[in-house]
């Protein structure tokens, strides 16, 4: 009972009643948090959580680890957990990355907090499955990020006398117009995962939600050998002609800058790219257009970030973790954080009217379960995803790509183990 009251009181802190209950919190509940949010908009977003936590009576100790798409932060965190010097909390992406460290008992079960906050009814079902194992909750979801958006520069399109394509029939003609106007049609970056973003945009948008799920959820090789899949591969190969020479030296955000500066027509990237546009002072639908699909298909490939609380016996650390969990799940933090970060809140009971147009599109899509498509990490190991990326990266650069060889290798990868 005492525990319950405690949980509830902290829950209220999280719910935004900071002034009244902050006094109850211990002098300083230190929480060391490992994360990999280091770019401009990302670190501004993490500051939102840190400030809220400090205001609620905690003491946020920031441990940001740059690089490797989070790989470095994760290995640092895991090494420290295994070595017995755990951080209070650490960041993960949704998906299977977590299963193994949960199975080894390194992650604290926060089901009680989740139950008290009624998370199960607040967040998408697939996401709930992703943060829980065998009915126990292990992750605090903080954002939902669309993984496959397209970002079009309106001035570039205008200069070329074109519009954002409404169907796939208009797609290549639009790119041709951009090319003819001396604009790089597609801003491509060097890393294989950026090619993968473009590829999954094709799969969800041209192939459709059903095909996406068959490939990535069911790992169905028949779907891979279908003409629809081969058509996607051929489309991707054709898109190579619309890149430029500088692509192999660009990071994803350098490519975003090309679209921001109207030097390129379109970039295919997750909604974290929006942060770059907003930071450059651009307004959605006036300076740039964001669209998660082209044509009639609807679907939203999403992923995102969560935090895990490391397993501990220390009641003080637990208290700090409780406060941290409730801060992260509070309505205010969810909205304020995602406004800066570019994603959308995971809770469906928050006021999202202050978010921008792109986020509204995402919220509308995410509202219906049939449009929710969990991204590859929900169902596939990092190893398998990596193998697919190697394959896509090679396809994008090899001099004589073959649709059939690619299809065969792709089927081999998804049917493995």
């Amino acid at each position: 009972m005492k525990l319950l009251t405690h949980v509830l009181s902290i829950g209220m802190v999280g719910a935004g009643l900071l002034g009244t209950t902050a006094g109850h919190a211990q002098a300083s509940e230190k929480a060391e948090v490992i994360h990999w949010w280091t770019s401009g908009s990302e670190s501004a977003a993490v500051k939102v959580i840190a400030d809220a936590y400090n205001q609620a009576g905690g003491e946020w100790i920031d441990n940001a680890v740059a690089g490797g798409g989070g790989g470095k932060a994760r290995s640092l965190g895991i090494n420290r957990i295994v070595g017995g010097n755990s951080p209070t909390a650490m960041q993960f992406n949704y998906g299977k990355q977590l299963d193994e460290i949960i199975a080894n008992g390194f992650v604290r079960d926060i089901s009680a907090l989740a139950e008290a906050g009624d998370w199960e009814n607040l967040i998408p079902g697939e996401l709930w499955n992703s943060i829980s194992v065998d009915g126990k909750v292990y992750g605090v979801p903080i954002d939902v990020h669309g993984q496959t958006w397209s970002w079009w520069s309106l001035p570039a399109l205008k200069k070329a006398g074109a519009e954002v394509p409404n169907s796939w029939d208009d797609f290549f003609p639009t790119l041709d117009k951009l090319k003819a106007a001396g604009i790089t049609p597609i801003a491509v970056s060097r890393d294989a995962w950026t090619i993968d973003s473009m590829w999954r945009f094709l799969v969800i948008s041209k192939g459709g939600t059903e095909l996406f799920k068959k490939i990535y959820v069911e790992n169905d090789t028949n779907a891979v050998e279908s003409p629809a899949f081969k058509d996607l591969v051929a489309t991707l190969i054709k898109m190579r002609d619309y890149s430029d020479e500088g692509a192999s030296a660009r990071n994803w955000n350098d490519s975003t800058t090309m679209v921001i500066n109207d030097q390129a027509g379109v970039q295919f990237m997750g909604d974290w790219a929006k942060g770059e546009f907003l930071k450059a002072g651009k307004t959605p639908m006036e300076d740039f257009v964001c669209t998660p699909t082209i044509g009639a298909n609807e679907g939203y490939v999403y992923g995102g970030d969560m935090f895990i609380m490391t397993a501990t016996d220390d009641p003080e650390v637990k208290q700090a973790q409780d406060l941290l969990v409730n801060t992260m799940m509070s309505k205010d933090v969810q909205v304020a954080f995602n406004k800066v970060k570019g994603g959308i809140p995971v809770r469906n009971d928050v006021d999202t009217s202050t978010l921008d147009v792109c986020a509204q599109t995402a919220i509308k899509l995410m509202a219906s379960p049939e449009n929710q498509v969990g991204d590859q990490p929900f169902y596939n190991s990092t190893d398998k995803i990596g193998a697919i990326r190697d394959l896509l990266g090679t396809l994008w650069t090899e001099p004589n790509p073959s649709v059939d060889a690619f299809t065969q290798k792709f089927a081999d990868i998804i049917s493995a183990e």
Binding site: R190, D191, A249, D383, G386, T394, L395, W396, P399
Partner: protein, 294 residues
């Protein structure tokens, strides 16, 4: 106990902690790596033994073959170019040129720069849209093309180029020291016999510099086998996988792809490769020579 034995005991005891450290830190971790490579470990070490499964998968992977081939091409080219260039530079400096100190410093300077910085600088220079190609185009030579970096079949040579720029200075310094160690009387004798100086270098000086050259080869081999940072900074292993190297392969699978079983299998394979090449060579170079000498 004789005098010398007692002295040996003292030094043995002194050195003991280091032996323990070396055995524990090096041999112990190598043994652990080999052991993990025989298990089904993914993100965390596991103890489930799977025999040679990880090796089977490794050798079935196209990416691993690309990586080892790249290492071979990169290694041989870098080694050959650095040795030749380093030697020629050393000869140039040894022929009593003016301002030798300045020239030597300039040539040695790249070595003081880390591979990461080297990689970044060359990435900019070799990038056709901002680097050398762009510069030459703007000078008016519009057909000039220098796009090694962005073509899968040539990107590995861009790595060699950057590696040579960075590494030949050190080789030059070592070679110069070797040249300076050659007895000047040999030169005088050769001059009296009227032998042209290129012939003296080739037939007398180079054979005499054998120990120096071996030092260079060993130093170079070490940095070649573990080359990682240069690749990450210059090409990121791309375009595609065309400049992947074993060290990058291992780091990717160890950290980003959470597959330490496969990564340690790759480590072990690399270790065996190195041993297969170096042990016989080491034996021929050192052990046999010593036997002959005594």
């Amino acid at each position: 106990m004789s005098q010398s034995q007692r002295r040996n005991l003292g030094s043995t005891l002194t050195i003991m902690p280091f032996w323990i450290l070396v055995l524990g830190a090096y041999v112990g971790t190598i043994a652990w790596t080999v052991y993990i490579s025989l298990t089904n470990s993914r993100m965390l070490p596991s103890t489930k033994f799977v025999g040679l499964d990880q090796y089977k998968r490794l050798f079935g992977m196209e990416r691993w073959h690309v990586a080892t081939q790249n290492l071979l091409v990169f290694g041989l080219l870098l080694m050959a170019l650095c040795l030749v260039l380093g030697f020629l530079l050393a000869v140039m400096l040894d022929s009593q040129i003016r301002a030798e100190g300045v020239v030597r410093t300039i040539i040695l300077y790249p070595h003081a720069i880390s591979f990461i910085v080297t990689g970044l600088v060359w990435q900019w220079m070799l990038n056709p849209t901002v680097g050398i190609e762009k510069a030459i185009h703007s000078f008016g030579w519009a057909n000039f093309s220098f796009d090694w970096l962005i073509r899968p079949e040539t990107a590995i040579y861009a790595l060699v180029l950057a590696g040579v720029w960075q590494g030949s200075g050190l080789i030059m310094a070592l070679m110069l020291a070797g040249l300076r160690g050659i007895d000047q009387d040999i030169w005088k004798a050769a001059r009296i016999d009227g032998i042209p100086s290129w012939r003296v270098y080739l037939s007398i000086v180079v054979p005499m510099m054998r120990p120096t050259i071996i030092t260079c080869v060993v130093l170079m081999s070490l940095s070649i086998v573990k080359v990682y940072d240069l690749v990450v900074a210059l090409t990121g292993g791309g375009p595609g996988l065309s400049t992947d190297v074993p060290a990058k392969f291992i780091m990717d699978f160890l950290f980003e792809r959470n597959n330490i079983g496969l990564a340690t299998a790759a480590c072990t394979t690399l270790l065996i490769l190195v041993l297969v090449i170096f042990v016989p060579w080491y034996y021929v170079e050192y052990c046999r020579e010593k036997k002959g000498a005594h």
